[in-house]
Amino acid sequence: MAVSTTWVFAESSEGKVATITLELLTKARALGGTVEAFYGGGDADAIAEQLGKFGATKMYAADAGDVLQGAPVAAAMAAQIESGNKPDLILFGQTYDGRDVAGRLSAKLDKPALTNGVDVSADGDKVTVQNAIFGGNTLVQTAFAGDGPFLALFRPKSFAAEEGGGGAAEVVKVGVPDTGTAGQSKVLDRHVEEHTGPKLDEAEVVVSGGRGLGAAEKYEMIEQLAKLLKGAPGASRAIVDAGWVPYAYQVGQTGKVVKPNVYIAAGISGATQHLVGMKGAKNIIAINKDKDAPIFSIADLGIVGDVHKVIPKLLEALQAKG
């Protein structure tokens, strides 16, 4: 028997299903069996319609209310599982809320969670998750032992989202059990930061800066270049850790995974931590003073030079072209 039922933890933002959720639904379809979604947010009917298009036949809706989703959604999932409605496999995005729900559910059910997956396969009852480690140069296959449900988290952009042509998913409202103080992380207010230009993980061009910039104020060059190329600015962990730019800019293992048409790495040496987040780019340009920097081993065009000299000239040339 292969996988007979897969759940996907569904996420949304402002009434729109998150791309990662659509990617996971597409993969769940490929595994065969029934695909169902589990959702903890608002606008259930609109979300169910979008989820249906990508293959979910049912959407369990557990309204988490104004608290963080981790505890209430995990409790609602566990209640369904304990009542006998048990999937073989539950897929989560390696996202803020995906981690919270999967972590809580893992502890609640006393089942391991395999994290940072880039692929999953099922052979009979054996479910195997693939990870890319050491900056993506080594692939590791890990199989679940013991009984399901198996919990697995996947990095965004591991699968391409494709519609399956289904109608709206049937909405099944499920209760949220009392989670006591554990479920009392109350969201008081949401701040949406002003944003111009494309989102980092959706941009066709990404320009990232690293420690080679030398000083926080030099990051402005990166923003200018990104703007001229209608792209998004990104950053290495080093300059996020140094407090030059916020965490939301970070590309890499602990940040965003990007797969743009063009990725420009400026003053980034290319630690494995960074490579894992950008080596899926179609074209990579690297500018770095150190000719032995690991970033050059994966760059399509490598410039051995000083970012402080190359980028201002590049900005000037691009501006001149209009």
Partner: protein, 263 residues
Amino acid sequence: MPPHMNVVVCAKQIPDPAAPGELDPNTKTLKREGKLILDDSDAYGVEMGLQLADKAGGGEVTLISMAPNSEVSGLRTALAMGAAKAILVSDEALQGTDSLGTAKVLAAAIKRAEPDLVLTATESTDGYTGVLPAQVAEILGWPSITFAKHIEVADGTAKVQRQTEEGYDEVEASLPAIVSVTAGVVEPRYPSFKGIMAAKNKPVDEVKITDLGLSADDVGWKGARQEIVDVSPAEERQAGEIVEDEGDAHERIVQFLEKLKVI
């Protein structure tokens, strides 16, 4: 605000991330040989803990760490920053422990320390599963707030700015709670010479898993309930053209972008 604010910071000791990682060919786990250092990601939690205890007007930071072979060099760094003491869970049975097993161990150690607040990194640099804070919180039955960029504590409540895809949420939870701290949100202090000297004499309480009421089945390979079935090299990306800048390298970039019709 409690007159004293005791904070536990979960601190991981890892191989230097600058050195290339390697898998043990037999166990297929990360090699953790040689000197271990304090995970950079945890320095932010230590700093945040010290600041919160300071603001509360009293209290201390206790480190909790798990390591298979009595390793303390990374903990000494955090003690030198100002943490008061450490609990080190060191046991041969821990070899191969996954994230849930680690959460069981840390939760049991946290119960011993009875803190007001537990701080962790959002994920470790070497294992980076990112699910541990939620697992620990669930085992303890505590609220958790992950991806904090700012924390304030007042009247038994933690108010946190939590990173989101669009910006941040203001989230509040009653104490005791677990908060995971995003890197870069505070500037970790450098240990002073005095701090480094004092750290040598600060207490590190080394315990075994049985001291925490856990058995070998909860942790290690057996507890992990997963099996690495294959390790293989990924398809390598080839290096392209490397150009030394002689004042005109920007033209090469322009040509490259033109060829791709990006400009």
